[in-house]
Symmetry: C2
Subunit: 545 residues, 2 copies
C-alpha cells in the first residue's frame, strides 16, 4: 500500500485557481462576469486572467510577491483572484473603507510589489503611497483600473500603467509558473491595519480550495448560480465565492455599490439566485420601498449576528437566508446554521431564533468546539455553559504574516482560538453569546477597540479611554468611547475628540458617541470592566432611539 508513489496524474496540488481552467473547459460558452454593459464568458475570463498573469510576470512579479488591489466589486477585482496566483504571487485585496494611513501600513507590511487601484480610489492610493515613500519604504508599481462607468469628471492622471492595457499586452500563451506545493500562499487579508503590528492573514492554496468546496456544500449552491456581488471581494476573498463561482460555472454580477435600487435592479435584470452580505445590507434593502422579489434569492449572511426580527423582515420579501459565522482566519465562514426541515413547521419567531444561531462547522473544517480556555476541555452541550469557540481543520489560515506573537496566541493545544465566546445547544448547534471583547462590528466591518483606545490616548486632554460597542439601528453596532479627562476641571470638547479621531483613522472606525466620565470602572486587578461600559452604552443608545 505504501509503495505506490504520488504521480503527476493522481497528486495534483489543491488550488482554487484550478477551478478557472476547468470552468473554461466545461462552461466555456457560459457567462462568467457581467458588469453594466460589460459581459465575459468563462473562456474569455480564463484568457484574460492568463494575459494578466503573464503581464504581472513581465513586470517582475515573482513567487510570494504580494500584488495588492484597492477596488470595489468590479471585474478586475474578480480576475485578480485567479491571475495573481497564476503568476505565483499572493493576492492582497485591501478594504476600500480604510484611510490612507491604514492602507500605507498594509502596503508596507505586505511589501506589495504591485498595486492595482480602481479610478475611484486613485486619491486614496496616492496619499497612501506618499506615506510609504515618505517613510523611505519601497513603493509598489501602480496600475489604474479604468471603468466604462467612470464619470467624465474623474481623471486617472496620477499613474501611468492601466489595467486593460496590462491585460491586452499580456501573452495568453506565456508559460506560467506551476504550483508545486499546495501549502504555498494564495492570498493575504488584513484583519486590522491601523496599528504598527497589523495582522496579515495568509491563506494557503490548499486551505482556500477546501474552504471553497466547503462553502458550496454548506450553502448548497447548485448548478448555474447567478451570484450578485453585494459582499465585498476584499472580505476573505468574498467568503471564497470568488473561486466558488468558477467551480460552479456561475454568473458573477458585479455592482459598484450596494444601493437598494442597484441591488433590486440587478436581481430582476439577471435573475440573481444567490448573494452574500452582512446584515447591514438588509437594512439598506428594507429602507425606502422594499419590494417583494419575483423569485427567491438565497442569501448567506454573516460578519455580525442578524437579529431575529431582521431575518423575519427580509424573509418576508422573498430572501431565503442562511446564517453563517466566520472570521478572516478561517478563510471566511467556519460555521453555518444548516436548516432542518422539521423547523419549517415552527412558528416564525421560533424559526428566527433557531436561525440566529451560528450553527455547525462547515465540511472543510475537521472540528469546531466550545472549550474552557484554561483546561481546553469541551463545555457541556446544554445551551448555557460558556466557553471559547475553537476551530481545527485544513481550511484555516497558514498564520499571521511576520507576527510570531499573534500566531502563538492564536494557535493553542491543536486549536485555533477565535476569541469568541459561545455555548453548544443540546442539538450540537453553536451559538455565540459574546464576541471577542475587543471587536466592534459596524456594518460588517470589524473594528478593534484597542486600536481606537490607543489613538484616543494620544489626545492631549485624555487621561484614560475605553471603547465599546453601542447598538445602532442601521450599522448593527458603532463604537462608543468613554474618556477620562487629564484635567478634571477643564471641559473635553467631544466634537474636537471626534475630529481628532477622524484625522487618524478610517471613517467607519470613528466613535459615534463620546462619553466623558470621572473614572473608568476597573476590577480589583485594575482591568477595565467593559461589561459595565457596554451596558451603559446600550442604555444610552436605547434612550436615544
Amino acid at each position: 500500500m505504501d509503495k505506490l508513489p504520488k504521480r503527476p496524474a493522481n497528486y495534483v496540488p489543491l488550488s482554487p485557481v484550478g477551478f478557472l481552467p476547468r470552468a473554461s473547459a466545461v462552461y466555456g460558452d457560459r457567462t462568467s462576469v457581467v458588469y453594466g454593459r460589460l459581459k465575459f464568458t468563462w473562456s474569455q475570463t480564463h484568457e484574460r486572467c492568463r494575459r494578466l498573469a503573464a503581464a504581472l510576470v513581465s513586470l517582475g512579479v515573482r513567487k510570494n510577491n504580494v500584488v495588492s488591489v484597492l477596488a470595489p466589486n468590479v471585474p478586475a477585482t474578480y480576475e485578480m483572484h485567479f491571475a495573481v496566483p497564476m503568476a505565483a504571487a499572493v493576492l492582497n485585496a485591501i478594504n476600500t473603507r480604510l484611510d490612507a494611513k491604514a492602507v500605507a501600513v498594509i502596503l508596507r507590511h505586505a511589501q506589495a510589489k504591485v498595486l492595482l487601484v480602481d479610478y475611484e480610489y486613485v486619491r486614496l492610493a496616492h496619499d497612501a503611497l506618499q506615506i510609504v515613500a515618505d517613510a523611505g519604504a519601497p513603493v509598489p508599481l501602480v496600475a489604474v483600473i479604468d471603468d466604462i462607468e467612470r464619470p467624465t469628471g474623474v481623471r486617472l492622471g496620477l499613474f501611468k500603467l492601466e489595467y486593460e492595457a496590462l491585460v491586452s499586452n499580456g501573452d495568453p500563451a506565456a508559460e506560467l509558473p506551476l504550483l508545486a506545493d499546495e501549502w504555498d500562499a494564495v492570498a493575504l487579508n488584513y484583519t486590522s491595519g491601523t496599528t504598527s503590528a497589523p495582522k496579515g492573514v495568509v491563506y494557503s492554496h490548499r486551505g482556500a480550495y477546501l474552504n471553497t468546496m466547503g462553502q458550496l456544500l454548506s450553502w448548497g449552491v447548485g448548478n448555474e448560480p447567478v451570484y450578485l456581488w453585494t459582499l465585498p471581494m476584499f472580505h476573505c476573498n468574498g467568503w471564497a465565492l470568488t473561486w466558488g463561482m468558477a467551480a460552479r460555472g456561475g454568473v458573477n454580477v458585479c455592482i459598484r455599490q450596494n444601493r437598494a435600487a442597484d441591488v433590486y435592479r440587478a436581481i430582476s435584470d439577471y435573475g440573481v439566485t444567490h448573494m452574500c452580505c452582512a446584515p447591514v445590507v438588509f437594512n439598506i434593502l428594507l429602507e425606502g420601498e422594499a419590494r417583494r422579489l419575483a423569485a427567491p434569492v438565497h442569501v448567506l449572511t454573516g460578519g455580525a449576528p442578524p437579529t431575529a426580527a431582521l431575518l423575519d423582515r427580509v424573509e418576508r420579501i422573498g430572501f431565503k437566508v442562511t446564517h453563517s459565522y466566520g472570521l478572516t482566519e478561517a478563510t471566511g465562514p467556519a460555521m453555518a446554521c444548516e436548516w432542518r426541515h422539521q423547523w419549517d413547521l415552527l412558528p416564525l419567531p421560533e424559526r428566527s431564533r433557531l436561525k440566529a444561531r451560528q450553527g455547525v462547522s462547515v465540511l472543510s473544517l475537521a472540528d469546531a468546539s466550545v472549550v474552557d480556555s484554561n483546561t481546553m476541555g469541551s463545555v457541556p452541550r446544554d445551551g448555557n455553559s460558556l466557553g471559547e469557540i475553537v476551530l481545527r481543520g485544513s481550511s484555516l489560515m497558514k498564520g499571521y504574516l511576520d507576527n510570531p506573537e499573534a500566531n502563538e496566541k492564536a494557535f493553542k493545544g491543536g486549536w485555533f482560538m477565535t476569541g469568541d465566546v459561545g455555548v453548544v445547544h443540546p442539538d450540537g448547534y453553536i451559538e455565540i453569546k459574546d464576541r471577542s471583547k475587543d471587536v466592534i462590528i459596524s456594518g460588517g466591518e470589524n473594528i478593534c477597540s484597542k486600536e481606537l483606545e490607543e489613538v484616543l490616548l494620544q489626545h492631549p486632554a485624555v487621561a484614560d479611554a475605553a471603547v465599546v460597542a453601542m447598538p445602532h439601528p442601521h450599522w448593527g453596532e458603532t463604537p462608543c468611547a468613554f474618556l477620562v479627562a487629564k484635567d478634571k476641571a477643564a471641559e473635553v470638547c467631544k466634537d474636537e475628540v471626534i475630529a481628532f479621531c477622524r484625522e487618524r483613522m478610517s471613517r467607519f472606525m470613528v466613535p459615534r458617541k463620546v462619553v466623558v466620565t470621572d473614572a473608568l470602572p476597573r476590577n480589583a486587578l485594575g482591568k477595565i470592566e467593559k461589561v459595565k461600559l457596554r451596558d451603559a452604552a446600550r442604555k444610552s443608545a436605547v434612550s436615544r432611539l
Copy 2:
C-alpha cells in the same frame, strides 16, 4: 509567506473517516442507518464504529492490513467503511457476485487479515477460504455478520467470531491510531478477480475525501438526504456515498436486495430522496407494476450508459436522473452530466439524448480530456473526433496494488488512461463512443473479455476464442463467445462449453451465447477484429428479440 509552518490546528490530513466524528457532533441525534427493525443515530454509529475499530486492533489488525467484507448493503458493511480505517487498516469490500475461486484470488492477493462475512455468503466464504488454505496461503480470521432478518433455516455454524460480539466487546474509549499521512491507503477495490494478476485499486484517504466532496457537489446533495442503498457498497465504496452520507448527516436506508417491491416500499416508508444504481435497476423497477412516486427521487446512474428510452421511462414515474461516468480507478464517478436549465425547454427525446452524455469532470478532478493516445494531444471539440478519455486529479487511485505493469500502462504523460473512447462536444461535454475494448458491462458489473477468453481456451475442444458484448434487454450487455473448434469435423457442444465456464467463473460472467465459427476475423497484423464480432453479436441479439 513560506515561513509559516503547518500546525496541528491548520493542517489536518484529509480523510473521509473524519466525517463520522463530525456527524456524531453535529447530527448526533439524527438517524444514521435504518434496516428493517434496526435503527441507529449518528452518535450510535460513531460509537459502534469506535468499538469495532478497537476490536479489530485487539484482533491484531495493524496499519495497512487488509480487512475484507463479503456482504450485501447491511449496516455492518456501512460501519466497516469507518471502523476499518479507524483501525489504520484498509477496507476491501468484495463483490458478492463473484465465485469462490475469484474471492480466493482476492483474499490471497490482498493478504486479507480479517474477513467479515454476511450469513448469506458463509458457504461462498467457506469455499474461498478452502482454496486459500489448499494453496498453503495464510487464511484470514473470519467473523460472521448475523442479521435480524436471517431465515431460521440458515446456520452460521462454520465460523466462531460474530460481528455484533466484536462490536459489543470493543472498547469505545480505546485510543485508536491517528492518521498521520493523507496519502495512506483507506480502501482496496478489485476491478477483476479471476486471473492470476488481479487489479486491486488502492484509494488514499486524500483521494476518497476529495471524491466524497466532489460527488456531493456534482450531484447537488443538500441537507438531510434520505439515501436508499440500491448501489452495492462494494462498488467503489458506494461511489463514495458511504462517506458522503456521514458528511451530510443523511439517513442510510439499507436493503438486502433490489427487488422492485422492496425498493418501492423503502421509498415510501422512509421518504427516500436519493439513490444510486446501474441502469439495470431501472429495468427491475419498470418490470411488473411500475408505480408513480409520491415525491421525486434523485437517482445518480452510471456503470453503464443508460439508453435515452430508459431514461425517458424512469423519469416519467418520478425519478430525477443524473447520469454519471466513472470507474473504480477514479474512486467512483469521474464525470457527471450537469444539467443546464435551458435544456428543460427541449423536447423529451432531445433532453434524453443530452442526458445520455457522460458530461463534465467532477470538481474533485483537476482535469478530464479526450486525447489522441499516441500524441496525447486533445482532440477537437466537434462531437466527432474520437480519442481516449484521460483523467487527472487528486481523487484518482494511488495505483494498482503489487502490479507495476498495470500501473505503467495506466499512468501516462501525466494522465490516467481510462481505455474508454469518446468525443468532446462543442459545449465541452464528453460522450463515450466506445468503451474499453475488453470490457463488457452486464447489469452494472464489469466483465473482462480477456479473462473469459483465457478460460475458454482451456477447454480441450477449443482452438481459438473471442468474447464480445451482446446487447441484452435486461442486463444491458451480456458476453457472447465466438469459438473455433480444434477438430473442425467434430461438433462443439455449446451447452457443455457454458457448463465448463460456469465451473470456472462467477455466474454473471458466463457467456449467454456461444457461436462456433470456422475462423475468427483477424487483420493483417493477426489481431482479432472485435468490431466485426460485436456487429455479428448485435445482429444475432436483435434477431432473437
